[in-house]
Symmetry: C2
Subunit: 367 residues, 2 copies
Amino acid sequence: MLPPIEKPTAILNEAVARRNIARMAAKVRRSGIRFRPHFKTHQSAAIGEWFREEGVSAITVSSVEMARYFAAHGWRDILIAFPVNWLEIAHLNRLAAEIELGLLVESVETARFLGERLTAPASVWLKIDTGYGRTGLRWDDAEGQIAVARALSSGRTILRGLLTHAGHSYAARSQEAVGAVYAETLSRLSAARDRLGEAGFPALQLSLGDTPACSVVDDFGNVDELRPGNFVFYDLMQIQAGACSYDDIAVAVACPVVAVHPREHKIVLYGGAVHLSKDRLTRADGAALYGEVALPADGGWGAPVPGSYVSGVSQEHGIVCASDALLEQVHTGDVLFVLPVHSCLTVDVLRQYRTLTGEVIPMMPRP
Amino acid sequence: MLPPIEKPTAILNEAVARRNIARMAAKVRRSGIRFRPHFKTHQSAAIGEWFREEGVSAITVSSVEMARYFAAHGWRDILIAFPVNWLEIAHLNRLAAEIELGLLVESVETARFLGERLTAPASVWLKIDTGYGRTGLRWDDAEGQIAVARALSSGRTILRGLLTHAGHSYAARSQEAVGAVYAETLSRLSAARDRLGEAGFPALQLSLGDTPACSVVDDFGNVDELRPGNFVFYDLMQIQAGACSYDDIAVAVACPVVAVHPREHKIVLYGGAVHLSKDRLTRADGAALYGEVALPADGGWGAPVPGSYVSGVSQEHGIVCASDALLEQVHTGDVLFVLPVHSCLTVDVLRQYRTLTGEVIPMMPRP
């Protein structure tokens, strides 16, 4: 039984999330590759335990704050997949003394900084940009990569390998396109490894694997570590990339209906930018889409209602462009579910889950 | 002296915020209109006290949760400028018993619901859509407005007047355009009041006034209440509308620099969508802009750096498209300030302020 809803609430279907975790863990296990799932999506120690039950012991996070939180909850092998933030060196030193800490380096300056300031050993990965264009050393900048590898001369910075995040796979619109991004990523990363091997840095590992690729690709090739994160909940972006089906989406936002305007085909939700985030997709007709909508069903939510979607959000309002069929079924005072465009950002703003049975699952506290 | 920055932090220039409050309070006082500032922007009891020092006693909020928070901090006249959420009727009844509560109604269903379920008197405003197109009764739907006014038959629902939010003024690109939106809004709202007067609902008040209009318009005309909110901090959207200057922006996000890539004219910040929000502007060259950047100066931040801006955000990363001049001055381990596109959403995700002297100012706790 769903808990009574008063305000926008992240509802988590635990069975679906556990199935997503089990399926991905089994797939990676079969491939013989190390599974280091990204915990930035769920940010929850309780959900972390569901991964542990599937044999996960190594994790990825995206901030020092998150590393501290999960270390405090018993995780002992944590990679911070974000460029080293010099201003948190004191926290990094405490973590490096306590756990197996992994860090990303993409500049000679940061390599030297760690050499001077790190007080306990840490694993270091060169952050490689294989085409996403966000940050990192370009895959074809052999000179730059070798310079950083050489600058990691301190005994405390142990060069483990090359790491990338092919975030452009999120823009893929088919399984074939996702597969093509993965193949290109792996090819570029492997070439960089070969060149570094020739330059005197042998046996480097490769770490990659976003959710679209890990969901779609069957043969991961010669890599050492996969780091998907979003798959625990999936979302509409992943549907668009062909990485999941609606049945795999594990989180939706329950939103009170506060007004219905049938003539304008509009339903107004208590549920806006501060509850859903502002990530959006573009529909085939060019309109922005901030979520799809579903009716309550079977103690959770049903299939998305065809022809209805969240067409706009302001701070607290969500505006649903509603089909006739939806308008016939929905009244002020009801609850509608919004399937998120990008679940990572949606749960980040809500900062707490309720399960279908009403249990509260907290996230990392902030600030 | 700025506090030491470790991670993305909302820095509040208290002097600028107090000046913004004092200036707007004085302007509205001179006009003889009731000032009911919107507190959804700052969401902070401490900042609320700065308004009280300027003589403010009536406030606007955008959720029942926020009304409860400010009522608990001594505010006794609160308008919830959001369609009544039936699922929070128990909270509304407690509030109506404790304070002067104002509610928005835009349907016969909600008017009847309040008539049946409200256990203490509340002021009711008809929510009118004067052209923004988000929610409310259309300004020219006299029949609809009269039907709702008639349905407010209970002795506990006291019809006070007509209220609108002309959110489309945020899209204005000049003071003239803002003034034109205000004039149209007032004309439509006044006509609706006249028609309701003729239908037997005399002496209704008018409530309107967003930040662009309240900043730019000199003669507000025959209205009863102004409700701007964003002006306490202002932001880049308000600059674009001609509503403020850079000197009026009271909040910026201090972000650690984690990588500098001069060849790509790129600076990578620890400061992404979960710190800045994803509201954006479109530059003249068509590129998306998620913030402008400023260097630390005079114990706070300086003028925005010409030709540099946040061009992309992911969950934790902000990517600055950086000018040569900026690249010469910035190094990994420094702190850059990001001026927010939309301060309401930025502070909503950060949920806490630090003043220039390092004092922590909390916001309403959530969840």
